[in-house]
């Protein structure tokens, strides 16, 4: 009988009926799954729908009765009710009592009618939001009913360099480089060393043209225009001369220390001996 009472409260067109599985069981407590309701307001809304009137014109008194009856049934069935269902039941019992008694004085400032209206308003709001949630979900949704481009072509970023350099960068780089180069230039001497080979060639040329003794320095003058070259020209040609003398191809002569050196081609092959003569010829 209890089951019948609860079933009576849920008309066939109640849309959530489907959510309560029809279980082939004789356990009546499971016919209604209170968990199936989203809280006391949801339950109230379901009950209110049974009144089949505009929620604005709903009888809160009747609704309170139904809710309290429902809770009563549930208790008889020893269903575990969450605390908020009981809180709502207590509140509705209180509201009912105030609606029944003529409101002599409003202790909390809110009349019973106001409270009833507020509850009706809350129910309407929940009803509305549910209705529109459904409408929202019935809209064509992206990826369900409508589809975006399956093969989007992403925009490629092309990096275009913009070079930066200032005139200062330019000048300091140039000055710096030229300066370092100029320095390294001097240190890595353009030190034109007169190589022995050069000197020898020059001396050979000299004795080739000269018929008799001639002063080496005078001849070398031509190569010593650059003062910095004087030492290397003199040293190399002296070394080259010594070598030519040792080979017996030249004679050298100096009348005193630091006096000018004279050279000539060796004439007499027979006159062997030291090619360097000191003293006057």
């Amino acid at each position: 009988m209890a089951t019948a009472a609860i079933k009576r409260m849920m008309p066939d067109d109640f849309q959530f009926v489907a959510e309560f599985p029809e279980r082939a069981t004789d356990e009546p407590a499971l016919v209604i799954d209170v968990e199936g309701f989203e809280g006391p307001l949801d339950l109230l809304l379901m009950l209110a729908r049974q009144q089949k009137v505009d929620l604005a014109k709903i009888s809160i008194m009747a609704l309170a009765d139904q809710y309290l009856a429902f809770i009563e049934e549930a208790r008889k069935l020893r269903l575990e009710l969450a605390a908020d269902y009981l809180v709502m039941a207590a509140w509705l019992a209180y509201l009912k009592s105030r609606l029944l008694l003529p409101d002599q004085h409003a202790p909390e400032g809110m009349s019973a009618e106001d409270m009833a209206t507020a509850l009706a308003q809350r129910l309407r709001r929940l009803e509305a939001i549910r209705q529109f949630a459904e409408q929202l979900l019935n809209r064509p949704q992206l990826g369900r009913q409508v589809f975006a481009r399956g093969l989007p072509e992403p925009i490629a970023e092309i990096k275009k360099p913009e070079w930066s350099a200032t005139l200062y960068d330019l000048l300091s780089a140039y000055a710096g480089r030229r300066q370092t180069q100029a320095r390294s230039f001097v240190r890595m001497p353009k030190r034109t060393v007169w190589s022995l080979a050069e000197a020898r060639a020059a001396v050979e040329r000299l004795i080739g043209q000269a018929a008799d003794w001639c002063a080496l320095d005078e001849f070398l003058m031509a190569y010593m225009v650059e003062p910095s070259l004087a030492t290397t020209v003199r040293a190399s040609s002296f070394a080259a001369s010594l070598e030519l003398v040792r080979e017996g191809r030249m004679e050298m002569h100096q009348h005193a220390a630091f006096a000018p050196l004279y050279v000539r081609k060796r004439r007499d092959q027979g006159e062997a001996g030291p090619g360097v003569e000191l003293g006057n010829p």
Partner: protein
């Protein structure tokens, strides 16, 4: 003679105009086809020759595409090409089965959409039931709702609102296009239980915070919006 030359010039001018128009439409078309998200009118205008009325051009393109299998729609104030809704039957076979949202989540989403900016307590007040943290998390995960700010009220609760992804997913151009919004407004059902000075009867997804909202603090976003580790694979 003179008139005919003038006439010819006009015709030539028109021809040039038509050609230019066609080229502009081609450009719009190419951009919209290539894009993987709805495009702003500004972004589109920037790619068109200077002085072209992008808005009028888009309207023309929209009209051209209206009878076709692909339509040009406005979502969240931006433009996007989408398959025609009536061809859903054709394409749903290919659709990726997305997780169905729970009733609680759908209701919560609707409340956020119609009542934004809204706090969790306000959502609970409307639903008459406590909202589990999980429900809001699931919605944040879909990317359809977002944390907006904090209500200037005791406890400084976080306010929720819908995102651009929400608009794009449900094909809404503006929040005012929500179904039944006018009905809700008319019935006075949209008002929130706000301090009287703050009553704002119309939902708004304007990113600008309302007077009764404070900005989020740096940590807030980490809590709610950061993708969870197990989500990146999806």
């Amino acid at each position: 003679m003179r008139t005919s030359v003038a006439k010819m010039r006009v015709i030539e001018g028109n021809k040039k105009d038509t050609e230019a128009r066609a080229e502009e439409l081609r450009i719009l078309e190419a951009l919209l086809f290539a894009a993987d998200e709805p495009l702003d009118e500004k972004v589109l205008a920037a790619r068109l020759p200077a002085g072209v009325d992008a808005h009028a051009l888009l309207a023309e393109l929209q009209k051209e595409y209206a009878p076709r299998g692909v339509n040009l729609v406005r979502v969240g104030g931006k433009w996007s090409l989408r398959t025609a809704a009536d061809l859903a039957w054709l394409l749903t076979r290919e659709m990726v089965v997305t997780r169905k949202l729970s009733r609680a989540a759908i209701e919560t989403l609707a409340i956020v959409a119609y009542h934004q900016p809204v706090t969790r307590a306000e959502i609970e007040d409307i639903r008459g039931v406590t909202t589990s943290k999980g429900t809001l998390d699931v919605l944040l995960e879909t990317g359809w709702i977002r944390l907006r700010g904090r209500r200037k009220a005791p406890g400084r609760p976080v306010t929720y609102g819908t995102s651009e992804a929400f608009m794009s997913h449900f094909g809404l151009d503006a929040i005012g296009d929500l179904p039944g919004l006018d009905e809700l407004k008319g019935a006075g059902l949209i008002e929130q239980s706000l301090p009287s000075g703050f009553s704002m009867p119309v939902p708004s997804d304007d990113p600008a915070l309302r007077d009764d909202e404070d900005p989020l603090e740096p940590g807030d976003l980490d809590l709610g919006l950061a993708p969870r580790a197990d989500q990146t694979e999806e």
